[in-house]
Symmetry: C2
Subunit: 241 residues, 2 copies
């Protein structure tokens, strides 16, 4: 018995595929049927979260995200996941629109960091959109932890845009410098808090920082949920709120 994971994807498509690959790799399997079934809306036409949250000019993606969630749930998904940290700015609307639980990548990541690194400030490598909406700030404040962003938002944003355009070599040094800057604040750990950065995370040293990839945390939660190794009712109630 396998629960079906519904994925609100396409933000961007490569990050969605990366999540699916990590889900497959994380599942012990000797045949197709051992793998976790997934329904994936790899919707590359979700209005830009960056344009809406940073530039303040773009269309609000909320109705599209809500529609995707409802369609996935009505098509048979037992639990939903969004492999896009920035899209979690719209999490309350998405989770409120469906009966099934929606895994909260941001909160789950804060909990994973707190378990592995219980002291000190936490660096966040994420979109300036995430910084503006304060979703990681809120999740870590609930655990009594301070967070640190790199100072130059435009530079971090340029790394995201470079990865979306396939220019990984442009993005990597920006992220290494950002990690070094975060380390000077005394943080022992940084969150890879943008699924575009998850694409390059295996090539990222993080300098002196330990790195915790939010996409890995989401994948682990999906595997636990799909294979029933987490009590579904409690987990659902806990995660959907």
């Amino acid at each position: 018995m396998r629960n079906v994971i519904g994925i609100l994807g396409g933000m961007g498509p490569e990050a969605t595929i990366l999540m699916m690959s990590r889900l497959v790799a994380a599942t012990p399997a000797s045949d197709d049927s051992d793998h976790i079934p997934m329904l994936v809306d790899n919707n590359t036409q979700v209005p830009s979260r960056i344009a809406h949250l940073i530039d303040g000019t773009g269309q609000d993606p909320t109705p599209v995200l809500v529609g995707m969630a409802q369609k996935l749930a009505s098509s048979g998904a037992d639990v939903l996941a969004m492999p896009c940290n920035t899209a979690h700015s719209y999490y309350p609307a998405v989770a409120g629109a469906v009966q099934v639980p929606v895994l909260n990548m941001v909160e789950l990541t804060a909990q994973a960091v707190a378990r592995a690194h219980p002291e000190g400030p936490v660096g966040i490598l994420a979109s300036p959109a995430v910084e503006i909406t304060g979703i990681f700030a809120k999740a870590f404040a609930a655990l009594g932890r301070d967070i640190v962003y790199p100072a130059d938002r435009d530079r971090v944003l340029s790394a995201i845009r470079a990865i979306k355009a396939g220019r990984i070599d442009t993005a990597l040094p920006i992220l290494e410098e950002a990690a070094d800057e975060i380390a000077t604040s005394g943080a022992p750990v940084a969150v890879v808090g943008c699924s575009e950065f998850s694409i390059v995370a295996p090539q990222l040293t993080g300098g002196p920082l330990a790195l915790i990839d939010s996409l890995d945390v989401l994948v682990d939660a999906c595997v636990a949920y799909a294979t029933g190794s987490v009590a579904a009712s409690n987990q659902g109630a806990k995660l959907a709120k």
Copy 2:
């Protein structure tokens, strides 16, 4: 304007992810919205095609495949694709159950081979299930071409099972030997006609044979369809039948 590709996936899940990756790689893009939207039913619980077609013991997967196609179409897919050659044994039922066109990977591959290699027999590296149902035989016969399978069906099947279990090192030498055997028949080219073999195709030399990967042919057709570079109405009518 991008048409939405609906993918009947999960047969197996890695082949589905590979198709999605190749679709992303084949699409010139500078941001998410340039990419092709995909609705993916990565259904790992489709009854085994091998058990049904070879062993004769398994449940008929037709109703599940038809249900997947109908759900993808009603969820907004403009065209459907199945990244599983063996599942094309059920193509008439699937294509007959929906109004949208269903790309026929097997026929498109036969056409691609005929364009690139207009003479001689054509080797087929595919599941014995595909050999039994004769789908490649029919597609190539329509173009006046003979096909050649490796003699030892069990050995080819063991390679598929090894890849599904993650044992690529077991599968590769079996496929290289099969390619050598096919070459002795005078075939200049072989079809990589199992999407599990597509996973290892980049590592496969094929010995003296040119290799045409059916998954690449399907991806090219999807890109052409999604970007409107193929006249949708004609293509649809042609491909759905």
